[in-house]
Symmetry: C2
Subunit: 311 residues, 2 copies
Amino acid sequence: MTGRVTILTGGVGGAKLVLGLCHAIPADQVTAIVNTGDDFKHLGLSISPDIDTLLYTLAAKANVVQGWGRENESWNFMEAVRSLGGEHWFQLGDGDLALHVLRTHQLGNGQTTSQVVAGFAAAWGIKTRILPMSDDPVTTRVETSDGLLDFQEYFVRRRCEPELKAIRFDGSQQARPAPGVLESIIDPQCQAILVAPSNPFLSIDPILAVPGIREALATASAPVVAVSPVVNGASVKGPTAKLMKELGLVVSAGTIAAHYEGVINGLLIDRRDPPLELPIASARADTLMHTLNDRINVARAALDLAETLRR
Amino acid sequence: MTGRVTILTGGVGGAKLVLGLCHAIPADQVTAIVNTGDDFKHLGLSISPDIDTLLYTLAAKANVVQGWGRENESWNFMEAVRSLGGEHWFQLGDGDLALHVLRTHQLGNGQTTSQVVAGFAAAWGIKTRILPMSDDPVTTRVETSDGLLDFQEYFVRRRCEPELKAIRFDGSQQARPAPGVLESIIDPQCQAILVAPSNPFLSIDPILAVPGIREALATASAPVVAVSPVVNGASVKGPTAKLMKELGLVVSAGTIAAHYEGVINGLLIDRRDPPLELPIASARADTLMHTLNDRINVARAALDLAETLRR
């Protein structure tokens, strides 16, 4: 396959597929549109978890065992914060702090999130174009059995324990897609648009909530193919399955297809999934991504499905 | 000696004497008024070098070999900043960052420097009262052969190499002494006021430039005794001697006495100094402070001189 590919992503699973994609086709042909609904301020620092996970993954600096943050990280900052009585429920590694301190400083000087991320990516030699979904603030909040919680409060501090009732993306109605986002979707050179196997409700929906993005996907000439985050009735990682049950949904690829109705043209589902009829095109593959080869193979399978759907 | 003691201080030498003083008398009887003219913003973080040096020294966390920062420090943050193309001429250790990040956050939330410092000191079990000279911004800048430089630019980045022509304390005329500063000086329970052997021009003068402090010292009932930073025609540490020469001054205890005229009642000079006549009371001691015992001895010698000067 030649041509450009745009991928919507968030979280660790999404970053894995982007990495595979950047090996399946030239990295400089890939545009990643990244969820920033998880962005938050902590100890006065501006933190962009999904963008940073992607930066670390593409720069080969990710801590793959831990699943978040940098490899070879040290924790002297956190220890000192603790000794000073500061908040310590959100772990900030010493090396990781550089992204947060520099981002906070640059945003304070009037740069946009897009500009900050582009600078980081360039410094680390990342050729993939990384775009935040928006340079405007969009804040994911969850209504739970314990009341309204900020996303990190729910996800990190409370470990997704409170029962989830609804999800909202505060600010999304006023948010504009970041520069390049719509262009990368409607680009005639774009051969396929992928939706990573990220949490559809927490990682992809915030992107779709930014006015203009859903409409661009519907009118794009390139086929839109999602990789299902469900494997044989369970989620691979993270709270997707728990959350789907709390929302009264069946944990299946069929639910994913229905959730993305009107957005995707095809769904790549796991070969372990039970037989099912879908209203859209689908293909099967081993969607577990333990090794780099796995990731490349999933990316190729998604691109192959897209190739059959060219409009 | 019983009763309270107030000490004006800045820098590493000053912190050493405060530590000695806190062993010579009960630490909770000591009030340290600290230079904040060196405070600056770096990478968006609020940094208070002299306050932090004192915090580290009194909490037994100072890196005594290096002369600044924390012991057992790691440098992963700086390495990551460098990889991202960020400014790296001012070294920020991983553990050290906790003070800067928390301070910046707390100041941003409306706390004063006094409140921030009191919180840090309490968290680390420091009984000495540490007061910034002012909660208002005072910025030391130096006029040099290379033009006007911010203090850290001159002191750290340029290693004091440009020839110094004049020193100014921008903002000092509008600054008010921090809560407790004047009270600690005119306190009838105060038995002695010490001026640490810090750089008189860069560390003590900013304190004296805050309106009200010089006047309070002149009217205080307690004697004011300075420890000379000059030892036998040289400065113990730092750029004091170089700076005095550039300002056209003789590097001697006599110059120190003249500089503090109207402020101090007595001067503790080093036993190695040549004989000299001073217009104020003086005493001699070994003022080098390598060990904790040295520091306690210098503090005691200064207190003894003060004792003879009680008004």
